[in-house]
Symmetry: C2
Subunit: 385 residues, 2 copies
């Protein structure tokens, strides 16, 4: 039964698009990209955007006006972007030997591949397996703030790993990610955390060089620290991903204003919870994701902040609860809604807590202009290899 062509028309307006759907506001996307460019312009660094948020070559072509060096979080991202012509890829999750075959396949196809690790045993296994493969180099992951992974800048293991990789001709530098910057509040705190990130990473690079080891790449980054860092002495490369779209978690720590968030979920009012004074919409947690990243922030945005179909925030309306395909919309303080303003069929747009998580629930972006017209449908992918 060939339904597909009948049932997926190409909408010209967001008012006609099937819901739920993922909307990307072109003007805000462009402004967010420009803001990062402008902030980093005074510094002599490579910018290597992270594609884990967008997972769409179309979005990254907007960043670069073509292709450029990228960071990936999965080998499927590496493969998909390589197929789209991106040939300088950093896989920024600690490698394990079982994944080296996939990395080598990409390198053999002409992609410049960088991988990362933080364990001496892994360094030995990698050295044994890929030494001499000119397409693959290795960065040592450094832990600058106790967030996740990496060797401490002062750890003995840093030099042990560095020596193992250098002897195999694989060492190309150090990398860190200041994940704790997501817990900072405001520009000053973020800038101070960026300096912690910078200083720890540069210290690791200096220790390698003092031991006679090469360290040409010194790569740091997160959306908060990339946008607020004041000095990049000793840093050669900056990474960030969420900055393209921004989200409510970023707004909650002062990285952006909610009005700058480029990503939203288009939804339709499908009913009412009359006793509780809430709307029922057709965007539940499957469309928004289960991410409740603002729950621990000063302003809890529920499952998202509600805008009209044109993208303008409506006072204090949030998605107060979510089932799989149902969202509940109400005032943040619980005051009942005036239903007459929201007839069945009303279109709303919901700003997400976490752009990476919400985007991952959808197969494509509807790229929209200021008039709410759909300029393009940009596919995105998900999953792993």
């Amino acid at each position: 039964m060939p339904f597909k062509d009948d049932m997926t028309p190409s909408p010209q307006s967001l008012l006609q698009a099937p819901t739920p759907a993922l909307v990307l506001d072109e003007a805000r996307l462009t402004a967010n990209i420009r803001r990062m460019e402008d902030h980093l312009a005074p510094f002599d660094v490579v910018f290597r955007p992270h594609v884990k948020t967008a997972k769409s070559p179309d979005v990254l072509r907007t960043v670069f006006g073509g292709t450029g060096p990228i960071t990936v979080s999965t080998l499927l991202e590496a493969q998909m972007f390589a197929e789209a012509g991106f040939d300088d890829i950093l896989y920024a999750v600690g490698i394990v030997p079982a994944k080296l075959d996939a990395v080598r396949t990409l390198a053999d196809a002409g992609v410049r591949m960088q991988i990362i690790l933080d364990e001496a045993d892994v360094a030995h296994a990698v050295a044994d397996t890929i030494a001499g493969n000119s397409g693959i180099t290795v960065l040592i992951e450094v832990d600058c703030d106790g967030h996740r992974s990496g060797v401490a800048p002062e750890a003995d293991d840093l030099l042990v790993i560095g020596r193992t990789l250098a002897d195999a001709g694989l060492l190309c530098g150090v990398l860190t990610h200041a994940g704790e910057s997501y817990s900072c509040q405001g520009a000053d705190a973020i800038a101070a955390h960026a300096e912690i990130e910078r200083a720890g990473l540069v210290r690791a690079a200096e220790r390698l060089r003092a031991a006679g080891l090469p360290c040409p790449v010194v790569s740091m980054g997160s959306t908060p620290t990339a946008l607020f860092v004041q000095a990049l002495d000793g840093i050669t490369e900056v990474r960030a991903g969420v900055y393209m779209f921004q989200d409510l978690v970023m707004a909650g720590i002062g990285v952006c204003q909610p009005e700058e968030i480029a990503l939203s979920v288009l939804a339709t009012v499908i009913g009412y919870q009359k006793a509780q004074g809430r709307l029922v919409i057709d965007a539940g947690w499957m469309a928004m994701s289960r991410d409740r990243g603002t729950a621990a922030q000063r302003v809890d945005q529920g499952y998202g902040l509600v805008c009209d179909a044109g993208g303008t925030i409506i006072g204090d309306l949030i998605v107060t609860g979510a089932n799989q395909e149902h969202g509940l919309v109400g005032h943040r303080d619980g005051t009942p809604l005036d239903f007459s303003a929201y007839p069945i069929g009303t279109r709303l747009r919901i700003l997400p807590n976490h752009a990476c998580a919400t985007a991952a629930q959808h197969p494509a972006y509807l790229l929209s202009n200021r008039d709410g017209m759909v300029r393009a449908r940009w596919p995105r992918f998900s999953g792993w290899m």
Copy 2:
């Protein structure tokens, strides 16, 4: 660059499969399906499984040994299952007029379509739009426990809506979903809630019939209430979806044992958080979902309960934290792990909080037998139309 064939081998053992990956234990799946069949066998009801958890015709064919009546949460599910030969479909999310075209396309292709609604205005719009289309009938959604949507069994609107639909020849019955059963604790509480669900729904059916309106279908269901209901007097149909796989939220309220959960995420140890005594694995929230449904239960399972590669639960190990592609594994009480038991490359399987949410993060199931061999790769879909 044609990487795909090189990089996605068909693994024969879970020890060779790329990670993260979604594993479906065939023996547990079969046992969960059998349990529901056995529980409902004494009752004279149609069982109409919900496909929103599995989103895979292969899984539903296992339920039926062929095709059968199904419940869907999106019109994409309806379309995909119709293409796979399922021709009796209940779309159990409140309809809005904008979605009627898609429903009609399915009906015109020969699918028996049922839709639901709970608003008089929508009933009028539906009656105006599809009266006379013999392939579509309508159930009135009834609210039995204040969980989400529906008209109260005693509401005046029930008869208003019923009359509107009956006059258009569209009324075929009533439906409810006892979503609050997820907050019950233990078999007795769930059975009591099932009786509330049954009694409220049957009351709605009786009021329609007393008003001279037809009500052949009386459809209730949720995994907890379907598995623990003791009496189904007046009920013609039962629905459930999670029961096929089960999950930690269900285990937490006593619906199943953790050892009965058929779904898990296969992951690899990729490093250590040495200071905190935790493993780093390559299954983060992208692989597990952000669902933290056990957080409010008596035992918080973090982002999932950890098993060995064979699927046997390892004491009190849980995924204590998650980034996008990194999970942290530790003892529930924070005691540091003995890393020597978990060398880099060790395979683990993580039982999910919420099967619907975790499965939705993956493109396919690896169907595994008791020996950890992959018997099939069953694709699943996601998204909307």
